[in-house]
Symmetry: C2
Subunit: 201 residues, 2 copies
DNA sequence: TGTACATCAGTGAACGCGCGTTCACTGATGTAC
DNA sequence: TGTACATCAGTGAACGCGCGTTCACTGATGTAC
């Protein structure tokens, strides 16, 4: 039984990463479902036929994007929430959202678009990943100064606000970004700890 | 100057409506951005070239879908919210959501997908339509038994919950629908009137 | 009333193009002994 | 060490197909007079 050398594996992995990144960037402008195998291969500087050395088709590539790019992003968010000060503010979460959008806009676009997109298999995969974030939020609810009565419900509401925040942040012009940040901070903060100072008249 | 007779206009309008409906149904499965002119024409039983008698291209058709289908749906929702009992419950809104999803699933899918989809011009058009619903929610906030301190903020939160509810309802299996309805009702109700009975431990 | 003409939704042929996929091949790099 | 062989990522040619778009045309239905 023969196996590829570590060096060869590395080279293949590098091409694979290039394909995923190229698909992510193209999906941000044209949409993942209208993305072509040849288009992605072209952007990654390989022959169309070489695509098959890495993925059976575009849907396999899409699932890889979910597992290897969206997954880590959500784990990072969940870890930040879990590890954070139980008095973690909405402002901190708003900053995290805007930071992710600034750092990897294509990835965030892919995530929020495909979560509700036409590709059922991607919707399902993303839903599972997002459940992890929901759990982190739920755990965070219970260790607060003003704990919520229904943590699951509050966590789902907070997640909806987070995702909506991602979507808004992707399109908001730079000059309105500060305003968006403030609103997100208040909305999320209020969901985390109802009746906190942000809601007093 | 000659003009088409009312009868001819009606016939053309009928074909146009068929095209829009066909596009809506196809978009629900393949995604609007990957939809082809020929594909839509085929589904509407007209020759590919006849498509041009109604729309210059698919993006014009997409904008027509927003104006003529999504618009009325949102106006209906906004009217329901504005005209409703100021004590309107989250349960009523949850029922409205589930009803719309059951009645016109393709339209709801189109709306939630393209709001965050790759087509910037559709995102923009949908954002404007959704602002109308946001205003209706905001007005509703002020005439309640427990008015919110920041109606705009609360309205935006409620809108995020509504849209997330649409997205979830589209994919939830029938046996979990009742559970979703209950959760939506509580989450939205709580955003409408914080501290109401649904949140007491 | 009849005749000439205008409008216009729908059509079928044709075009060039990019697509996904197959196939046999190359060449670098490994193992076997 | 040398020689024979295996692996496998990448390739270029070729295929059939559906695409968007153009064009000149048809035929039903209107108006002008």
């Amino acid at each position: 039984v023969l196996r590829a050398s570590p060096h060869k594996r590395e080279e293949k992995e590098r091409v694979r990463v290039t394909l995923l990144q190229a698909a992510l960037e193209l999906a941000a402008t044209h949409g993942f479902s209208s993305l072509g195998l040849r288009e992605v291969a072209r952007a990654a500087n390989i022959a169309p036929t070489s695509f098959y050395r890495h993925f059976a088709d575009m849907s396999e590539l899409g699932l890889a994007l979910v597992d290897e790019h969206v997954g880590p992003l959500l784990v990072e968010l969940a870890t930040g929430i879990r590890a954070g000060d139980p008095r973690q503010t909405g402002a901190e979460l708003a900053d995290t959202i805007l930071g992710a959008v600034e750092k990897q806009p294509e990835l965030v676009r892919f995530m929020v678009a495909e979560r509700v997109g036409a590709f059922a298999i991607l919707r399902e995969a993303l839903r599972k990943k997002l459940d992890g974030l929901s759990n982190a939020l739920q755990a965070s609810m219970q260790n607060r100064s003003r704990p919520r009565a229904r943590p699951l419900l509050a966590a789902e509401s907070a997640l909806a606000l987070l995702l909506d925040g991602f979507a808004r942040a992707l399109d908001v012009p730079e000059k309105e970004r500060a305003q968006l940040r403030e609103r997100l901070a208040e909305a999320i903060g209020y969901t985390l700890e109802p009746g906190s100072e942000s809601e007093r008249p």
